[in-house]
């Protein structure tokens, strides 16, 4: 294949963004939901601004340089703007397309490259790395009281001293659980996601415990790979494509009635929409991806739509209600439109109504590597979230995404005034089960 010229590449970029450019009427509705704009009110950070600037870049009216890159890097891909837009313009698709163009024009920043390269390593290498890491961590980090996390003992480049670091598991979840249940029972396929597999394994075990309790077997395909969200976010489409192919091999064509469940908002979004947004017209691959997308359900969605409610309630112990507040993961609420289900699960688990915080839908500020690459702004967004959560004086904060858990625990460590534990709703449900 001959190498594309710059002009050809720009024509491709323009084609990728044209649909959104046409839809965007620049009304400004996107201004009210953008966490970055909320922090720094400048039109450049709005979705309509990014769409207009993307068009200018593709037309050659603006240059690919550090200034223009900065504004496309300043997006958490929370999809708030896309879910709010009355015209249905998808600025998140534009940001991803432009980041691809930047990756091509200027390369991928080292930090993001490192994350992408690590997560796309073959499974055996990753497993071994995590095992070693789990031991090494204990030397370099101190435990965070009350959570399964750590923070640094010594100065380290690229890591803020106060940064909460998740404890890597000595044994990955997928190495512990391959199939749990009884043959012949209804079953689901569990897409674990990296964080649950290598660090917050308790989320996976909770999911298995609940589903087994309901008489549902859980199959954990061993060849599943990182969903590719971090690589998609850094504009590395080729790597995402490989991850997609690996996951099609591991998950697709399992029979339409077998649900793929996930307990990670971002993985769920990727399986349902992220792949198809990018490779939806990619022939055979697209067919496999559609198969996956149609079968994927978030765990709370699964519990509320596929399971007998009385049976689920029958598993739970009647205890005094616990006050729990709930943070909506962006990729669950905005990208997957799942709002009621995790709350219903949480109410079952805690025996009381959700103690709603102000703006539960506001982004926590993680945004994958955003929290490292744009640390100051990420921390300001995080601080607002923690303030809102703390103001509820709830006993526990629940959410439905391991990434958010990471960010919220980090925020609680930094912001005095609360030591609220942060847990996944499925974890709280498992804890509420009769012994």
């Amino acid at each position: 294949m001959t190498k594309q010229t710059h002009e050809e590449k720009m024509a491709v970029l323009l084609r990728l963004v044209k649909n959104e450019v046409d839809k965007c009427i620049r009304c400004g509705e996107c201004r009210t939901v953008c966490p970055v704009f909320d922090d720094t009110p400048s039109e450049r950070y709005t979705a309509r601004g990014k769409i207009a600037i993307a068009e200018s870049l593709a037309r050659g009216d603006l240059e690919f340089n550090g200034h223009t890159r900065e504004l496309f890097d300043n997006c958490l891909l929370c999809t708030g703007c896309a879910s709010q837009c009355s015209s249905g313009a998808r600025a998140d698709k534009v940001v991803i397309a432009v980041r691809e163009a930047f990756a091509d024009e200027m390369g991928v920043p080292a930090l993001k490259k490192a994350v992408a390269e690590t997560l796309s390593l073959p499974r055996a290498v990753l497993d071994a790395g995590a095992r070693i890491g789990s031991v090494a961590q204990r030397l370099a980090f101190k435990g965070v009281p009350g959570t399964s996390g750590l923070y640094r003992r010594f100065a380290m480049p690229g890591v803020d001293k106060e940064q909460y670091v998740p404890q890597l598991a000595a044994k990955s979840f997928r190495n512990e659980v391959r199939f749990s249940g009884k043959p012949g029972q209804p079953r689901v396929v569990f897409f674990t996601g990296c964080m649950t597999n290598y660090s917050m394994t308790e989320i996976g075990h909770s999911l298995v415990k609940v589903l087994n309790g309901l008489g549902v077997s859980v199959e954990v395909p061993q060849e599943q790979a990182c969903c590719g969200m971090p690589m998609l976010a850094s504009g590395e489409a080729d790597v995402v494509r490989k991850q997609a192919e690996r996951n099609v091999k591991a998950l697709a064509n399992d029979g339409d009635d077998v649900a793929i469940v996930t307990a990670c908002a971002s993985c769920g979004h990727m399986l349902k929409h992220g792949y198809l947004d990018r490779f939806g017209d990619d022939g055979e691959l697209a067919a496999g991806l559609r198969n996956i997308a149609e079968r994927t359900l978030d765990i709370s969605e699964y519990l509320m739509t596929r399971v007998d409610r009385e049976r689920l309630e029958g598993l739970l112990e009647k205890k005094a209600p616990v006050s729990a507040t709930y943070h909506d993961p962006c990729h669950l609420r905005k990208a997957q439109k799942i709002v009621k289900e995790p709350r219903a699960v949480l109410e079952m688990a805690t025996g009381g109504p959700v103690n709603e915080m102000r703006r539960p839908e506001a982004c926590c500020g993680l945004g994958g590597t955003y929290c490292l690459a744009n640390m100051e702004r990420s921390k300001r967004i995080q601080a607002k979230k923690i303030d809102d959560a703390a103001a509820t004086r709830a006993d526990v904060m629940a959410t439905a995404c391991p990434g958010c858990i990471l960010q919220l625990r980090d925020g609680i460590r930094r912001n005095v005034g609360t030591d609220m534990p942060v847990k996944h709703v499925i974890q709280l449900l498992a804890e509420a089960m009769k012994k």
Partner: protein, 458 residues
Amino acid sequence: MLNQEFINSLKQLVGEDRCTFSPEDMVAYSYDANPEKRAKPEGVVSPMNREEVSEIMKLAYKYDVFVTPRGGGSGYTGGCVPVEGGIVMAMDRFNRILEVDRDNFLVILEPGVVVKDLQAEVDKIGLMYPPDPASTGFATIGGNIAENAGGIRAVKYGVTKQYVMGLEVVLPNGDIVKTGSKCIKDVAGYNLTELFVGSEGTLGIITKAVVKVVPKPEARRTMTATFATLEKAAEAVSAIYATGVRPATLEFLDRISVEAVEKAIGFGAKPEEGALLLMEVDGSDHALDSEVDKIQAACERCGVITFRKAESDEDREDLWKARRALSFALCEIATEWEDDDVSVPIARIPMMIRKLDEIAERYNIIIANFGHYGDGNIHIGMTTGKGGGPFPMQAKQDVVKAVVELEGRIAAEHGIGCVKVENLHWNIDEPTMKLMRSVKALFDPKGLLNPGKVMLKG
């Protein structure tokens, strides 16, 4: 080209992070929601307080730099598009509600507050800020005041100007002036407040506003009525008014709009239904049932085809569905529409619609009409349809002519901006225009503030 000394002074004044001259930022401040008018500024400044606004204006005055104020940038007539270059004054950081004075039914706030946030704030204590444009969720109060925004409750509650009691404004020479007061009755001096309301940022920059709020109605009822023709619907509106009932909201969809929505979302309209009225009444709960009955009886006397009442919030959403789905539905007919926003005396809506039908026939185009029947505001969508060739611009002029013949106004709630600037003479005669130009010259002798908007230079 901006003078380098001006740039340096501006940077010194507000700091480098609150002014920008970068090419990508100029793209991001080149538009509002108008589909055509775009122009890049040469710089953007984001002041934080009135003193900064004043200093910036003095600087601009000294160096003859055009200044275009900007709120949420959600306008439809290019009101904040810097057509002559210069700098954009972005008022985003003026976003505080300073005082909610419950006893005097008023709120003091900064212009960058989003209207919905003002509404939510007073809602908490049982009050209501009535102006409710479709852009309430993202337009700012400063922009609403500058454009004298309307909205769906205007028929009962009026438009923005009825709610602005006082303003703090920075003039082009940097002077800070205060108009109006907290008093309902106030004849101390000229009514400068209303001069600024609707001046589209050409006379001064609003830095603070005192707005009136009202007690929130206890309850509301929502209903829709369909008729064979818009004339029939018009008869019903007259009949409703004759009963003494004044709906808070009275929206209409014409035949093309009804058909488009039916096709898009299938809300159950029959082919004979050629007009739809969406109505809401509000007030004390016990009184509303009888108001609804009166409306229903009036509609029945005028040949209503279907009359629906909302029994729950879900029902209400259902009834609103057709109105809300309209923009989306019209996109199915054509993606390119020429829009207009006009106003006629309310009793002349049917005449206006007839004239629009004639224009549609004359130019072989599709015209979809919808809007706020109760206050005479018609939103006109014109298109040649999908693949129908270029739009005959003469049709737009014919609409303006028709409006003027019916003693209507060429702009109802979206302002003149730079889009209708050449048409203002249709409504304003030369002596009046001359007075307006003198007023502008008095406030802004150098003509630096929001140039190219509202009216042509004399």
